[in-house]
């Protein structure tokens, strides 16, 4: 994984991708800690990830313009999104001592130009944390985007200050 970055308006995460579309597995979360998290891959990388998950050899996609994701693939991508997003957001819940509640994972094929609009929908998401990763042995690359509400950012900052005060006596 790369070191995560904060992104207020520059949308630097877009540089991770070269193609015009990405496959997004996303979950909204709330109950004291509110926002939306996205696990995104270029379509050909999503297909490779599914192949790896079902235990088949991961071979480079011959024609990146012809990627067909069937229901089984979408089911696996939805479950991968569920696992990764729960692992990340769940630790925020543990840190803040609250139980974050999740929506069902959603799979979408979205245009990169639409991601700004999606991240900022409802006007509640003011901070985007993003990181990219490469799975060892497979060269599968993707990104995690977490959009947080103002209240959630405040909660995190309060907690960080509290921890800092505890450490410093």
């Amino acid at each position: 994984m790369t070191v995560s970055e904060l992104d207020f308006s520059e949308y630097k995460y877009l540089s991770v991708f070269s193609s015009g579309h990405v496959v997004s597995s996303s979950m909204s979360f709330g109950n004291g800690f509110q926002g939306k998290a996205f696990l995104v891959f270029p379509p050909e990388q999503a297909k490779l990830l599914v192949t790896a998950c079902v235990g088949e050899p991961v071979l480079p996609v011959e024609n990146e313009n012809i990627i067909c994701l069937v229901d089984t693939d979408l089911d696996i991508l939805r479950e991968i999104g569920n696992l990764i997003i729960n692992a990340i957001i769940g630790e925020f819940g543990n840190l803040l001592n609250i139980r974050v509640e999740y929506s069902l994972p959603e799979i979408e094929l979205i245009s990169l130009s639409e991601t700004q609009k999606i991240l900022l929908e409802n006007d509640i998401y003011i901070l985007v944390l993003h990181t990219s990763f490469t799975l060892s042995k497979t060269r599968i690359t993707g990104a995690v985007l977490i959009a947080l509400s103002l209240n959630s950012v405040s909660l995190l900052l309060e907690k960080v200050n509290e921890l800092s005060e505890d450490l410093n006596g």
Partner: protein
């Protein structure tokens, strides 16, 4: 022995089902896609054990667990979820579950599940 697996992911149901079929003799496996289907199968089939996810459409695992516990305090239930929050586990354990296993379902979790089933039922 009758085991009901309730999970909205066909991929997960298939993985869990295969592990059980390979390791548990005389198994009758039941599969449900959500809490509603799971509850209906629980009422009609009376399984010995239910393995359930928490985040599901129609009726989630919390609601399913509550409904079952209102009428049956003894059936063994294993929660199998991606939720890593301590608060979730604490609240779920109030319902008297047999075990809480975190996804993903890998070799280690498969062995954990099979050991629990064999331990509980002497299978």
């Amino acid at each position: 022995m009758k085991i009901l697996v309730v999970d909205d992911s066909n991929f997960v149901r298939s993985l869990v089902g295969k592990a059980l079929q390979i390791n548990i003799p005389n198994l009758e496996l039941l599969m449900a896609n959500n809490g509603v289907e799971g509850y209906n199968l629980y009422r009609t089939e009376k399984p010995d054990l239910i393995i359930m996810d928490l985040l599901m459409p129609e009726m989630n695992g919390w609601e399913l667990l509550k409904l079952i516990r209102e009428v049956d305090s003894s059936i063994k239930i294993i929660v199998f979820s991606a939720d890593v929050q301590r608060a979730t586990r604490d609240e779920i354990e109030i319902f008297g579950i047999t075990s809480f296993i975190h996804k993903p379902f890998n070799k280690e979790k498969s062995e954990q599940l099979i050991n629990i089933v064999k331990g509980e039922f002497g299978a």
